[in-house]
Symmetry: C2
Subunit: 299 residues, 2 copies
């Protein structure tokens, strides 16, 4: 297989977000540097969300340190125009906006209806200067913690609105609860890609709560998705999605893709070193299997 | 998707095998009955292997109880002719023979070269009366705990010998170490199915040691495999495969396939009840994610 995969490391944002107590800024930066040293070249390093997520109050400092790493695509998450301005003022070159396909989850997550968030999307797209990369995350694209399964039509209808407003964006379909299953992941991406060929790139963001993390990533990749989120040591969760545990572990996906001769650019032993730092954080809830398997088995 | 899947429950054999202390025979039988009550209609209930596996010394009693369950396909594992005779004398209607693609693992596991085991396979096939179902498990079909990756050619050459001797057998390719990855699982099944169209059925047996259990099962199913082994509560391991932890959890596969509208015939809440009994066994090493996810999240 010649096609590669681009892993987006999200431990410093999605992973750190629910951790209590506060992780010292220097420790955050050391972990970003360790992930970079392992070969990861796209990292969601923080979010500019204001007081909603106290853990990420040091977004400016972490972003500044990440921008000093040559060749690193340092992505930051933003919820609205105001915080997009803050991110840009701090030097962000890649911003990711998010909204939920599920109305209930969107109201809980950002206190906006999906329709209001669609308007925010258009405004942010319009305010971004040339050369700033833009990503759109569709949360609860498969399942909502409050309402259960989300119909593909709901997602496709929402995408139609968003793409009509601004098509030049990478779109991530996110399995926020970990309740998606691989056949459905592949089917939704196939439908979205067929419906919106003008979209330049698609990404998948998954959680391993139900053990489907690797299976869903494989299904997305098999359907043509080449950008996949993962979190070192499986760190993660969503404070607004009850029962959602960690993101799929980056090391599990590196193991899987490299085993299939799909290049990730990541050095697994160095990634495991970074993962040990992540797992040692007070309050860290970790997941994944490869760390433990390689600890007890020599290869 | 119209195609179903047939899950083969292996907790009472592969799962119980490494458990210490001895599980009382009555408890084993209760668990087989609970798995049957959950809708599982093919269960590997024990093995006839003699003194090598003290935990399964009560094979006759467990098989007898399983044979009393209407419509249950009670499969038993056998290592050679002598124990096949014992299994048949005890009433077995479905026997599974196993050998390893890796010479080192075969020598460690059954103290036979693969060539000697091929001879045993022919002898057992010849001695089975009409109406007795026969299954062939190829252990270490992807990776060996002693030698690492097993080349597909080694497996295909071994299959050529075996199929020439007796093609009327279901063949399971087994990921003994859990180190297989989904692209390779799909590729090996595709190659085997294309090379040996006379084989009436193919099965996959996987472990979740590296988090690939569900992904590999999905890949095998996507490649056309309709018989997949799993173990309730992820119980399992292999005493002769260092670092091999549990089989893929049956409840994780039921969750996955039912979520894809692929019928399993299994009632998930009843399976979780059976899994609780399995997990409560002294010495049980369990795995899988769905049990815990559904414990903390209401659906």
């Amino acid at each position: 297989m010649m096609r590669g995969v681009s892993l987006v490391e999200v431990a410093p944002r999605d992973g750190f977000q629910p951790v209590v107590p506060f992780i010292p800024t220097g420790e955050k930066i050391r972990i970003v540097q360790a992930l970079y040293a392992a070969g990861l070249r796209r990292i969601e390093v923080t979010s500019f969300v204001g007081s909603a997520v106290p853990q990420l109050a040091d977004a400016r400092e972490v972003l500044a340190a990440a921008l000093a790493l040559p060749g690193l695509d340092a992505q930051v998450l933003v919820p609205n125009q105001k915080h997009t301005e803050r991110a840009l003022a701090a030097g962000a070159r890649h911003v990711a906006f998010f909204l939920s396909a599920s109305e209930t989850h969107n109201l809980n997550n950002v206190r906006r209806t999906p329709g209001e968030s669609v308007g925010d999307y258009a405004k942010i797209a319009a305010m971004l200067p040339q050369g700033i990369s833009f990503r759109l995350n569709i949360a609860t694209a498969f399942d909502c913690p409050f309402g259960g399964a989300v119909a593909p039509k709901v997602v496709l209808d929402l995408l139609a609105q968003l793409v009509a407003l601004e098509p030049n964006v990478e779109i991530a379909l996110c399995d926020t609860t970990g309740r998606a299953v691989p056949g459905n992941v592949a089917a939704l991406f196939q439908a979205a890609m067929a419906s919106f060929p003008q979209v330049p790139g698609w990404a998948f963001h998954g959680h391993d709560t139900y053990g489907m993390g690797a299976a869903n990533a494989f299904a997305a990749w098999s359907a043509g998705v080449e950008v996949i989120d993962a979190s070192a040591a499986g760190l993660g969760g969503c404070p607004f999605a009850p029962g959602a545990t960690g993101n799929v572990a980056t090391e599990d996906l590196v193991w899987m893709f490299e085993g299939m001769n799909v290049a990730t650019g990541v050095d697994l032993p160095l990634l495991l070193e970074a993962g040990r730092e992540v797992a040692a954080l007070p309050g860290a809830q970790t997941g994944g299997r490869v760390r433990e398997a390689l600890r007890v088995t020599k290869i």
